[in-house]
Symmetry: C2
């Protein structure tokens, strides 16, 4: 993956320029808050995928820089709202905007970034892009409500879990890939394939992320592990465990979810049970299935540097450390 | 105004049908929450203005029903977020969505309604409509941040106050009027005039609303009056009073704003000072100036039933009880 970042470093710096340049609100506080979260070490996965999908279709112009930055704005808007919804104090090791400036500012700057992105997208006068992005936003919002609806419910099925994941995470990633195809002038079938590629990759991304929340790595024990459980989110490894553990352990897990407390001893017990029952490897294997599907989606494209890079990005979903 | 509601009752019922019909999320909770706030007695001012502006341009088709409902969705999305930002428990005498279902749901259903509206607007494939609405949304978000930024600051100028009002309230009303012009096939200059009409009317609407917050009406004393002051919002009548009252009273008002407490005696004192210094009549007079400007904007249109209705709506901004 380091080679991919290297190969496209210059282009991604172009995206960074756009991210900064378009933060031009007359309201200084908007720019301050937006800069804070935009500079908090995001990997720019969506702009990278948009760029690679455009390149794989032979695109050589520069519109992907702005479009990538706008997709990143929308992603950032959802993070600002998510942090409020999750009561989160930290994101990637830094204080969240809501912690620094309060929930109100976080909600409103999220609204601003989202509407700013839609404004600029509209300026491209491209119906297909408008549709891809607005549809992704609708799905994301639906996925977030769905997640909240199932919050703390240990009876959620794997299908329902995957539906949340597909909505809240895969939708925008798939839209980024489709937009790459659109500006790359891909025929309708190829555009649909790139969309599906993004969906598979996006689901793999989220399932792996949910699994890494239980994958102890020494220094990540304590505060940063088990966050999903603390927030009442039932994700794939926990779902697997709940189906396989003893009634007594199941009750313990349900109790912890209800009270939203998780002592380190409880977490260690849950992780050890997950290892015993193979829950972590099961969930990672499911993520790998989606990566494999994503790689199969690329089958119809001729070999090229961006195609190989897309495949590397897909694999990276399940090999990365969080 | 009752005659206007009567004359366009059937059309507004068509808007209500659309509002209900498009609440078709697969996530039942989204529909429940959205229905709650949509059925809480909103006056559908924006759909009415969109309809009248279309009619004044000779429009006779039916697209205004859906478009009006989508503008109302966006307005509703902002109300859901506003109630969270303002910690509001009541809206039009009913419990707010945040009080009933929590802040998280309110934020996310707001996001959903907004993105749903954008999705459907995009389906109209009309660049001018896309631009009008996305621009209005950006301005609204900026206005809300600006309002929060100036919160509790008694040194705000009238210009700054009007800038907030123009952004947070007039933007969407003006967009509704412009969209009426767009579907009515108005030439560019008329479309611009309708936009300006909406801006003037929108500013009048908000200034009057802010003034009515201090306009005692017997039964409205106590909880429902003085809300803006309780929330640290410095609006036009208070601004006028702060410029005219004694240092001692100014200090009292600043203290109440800082501590966010307002005993009934304080409120009565402030209202009585406003009457003494003419603050309420000053603010209402300013609102009337904007109504007059709105009526002047209509000068270029031929006499017609919808034109007279627009004028009635404009006057209603400053004659209504809240």
């Amino acid at each position: 993956m380091a080679d991919v970042w290297d190969a496209y470093r210059e282009e991604l710096e172009g995206v960074e320029d756009q991210l900064r340049k378009n933060l031009d609100s007359n309201v200084a506080l908007v720019n301050t808050v937006a800069s804070h979260i935009l500079s908090s070490g995001g990997k720019r996965l969506r702009p990278l995928l948009l760029l690679l999908c455009a390149r794989v279709c032979g695109y050589s112009a520069k519109e992907h820089l702005v479009l990538g930055s706008l997709v990143e704005y929308i992603h950032t808007a959802t993070l600002l709202h998510d942090d409020v919804v999750d009561d989160a104090d930290l994101r990637r090791g830094r204080q969240t905007a809501r912690k620094l400036w309060g929930n109100q500012i976080s909600i409103l700057v999220g609204d601003y970034l989202y509407s700013k992105a839609i404004c600029q997208i509209v300026g491209f006068r491209n119906q297909a892009i408008n549709e891809a992005l607005s549809e992704a936003c609708r799905k994301m919002a639906e996925g977030e409500v769905l997640q909240l609806y199932y919050n703390g419910n240990p009876l959620i099925t794997e299908t329902e879990y995957l539906r949340i994941v597909e909505h809240k995470t895969a939708g925008l990633i798939a839209a980024a890939c489709r937009i790459g195809g659109i500006i790359g002038g891909a025929p309708a079938d190829k555009e649909a394939v790139l969309f599906r590629f993004g969906q598979h990759l996006g689901i793999a991304f989220q399932v792996a992320d949910d699994t890494l929340d239980y994958a102890a790595n020494g220094d990540r024990l304590g505060k940063s592990l088990g966050q999903d459980l603390r927030q009442g989110k039932v994700t794939l490894p926990l779902l697997h465990l709940l189906h396989h553990c003893s009634d007594q352990d199941r009750q313990m897990i349900k109790d912890r979810m209800e009270t939203r407390t998780l002592a380190e001893a409880d977490l260690l017990r849950i992780i050890s049970l997950m290892q015993e029952f193979g829950s972590i490897s099961y969930a990672m294997e499911r993520a790998r299935t989606f990566v494999a599907a994503a790689n199969r989606d690329l089958g119809g494209f001729e070999d090229s540097l961006p195609k190989r890079a897309l495949s590397v990005v897909a694999d990276y979903m399940v090999t990365r450390d969080r």
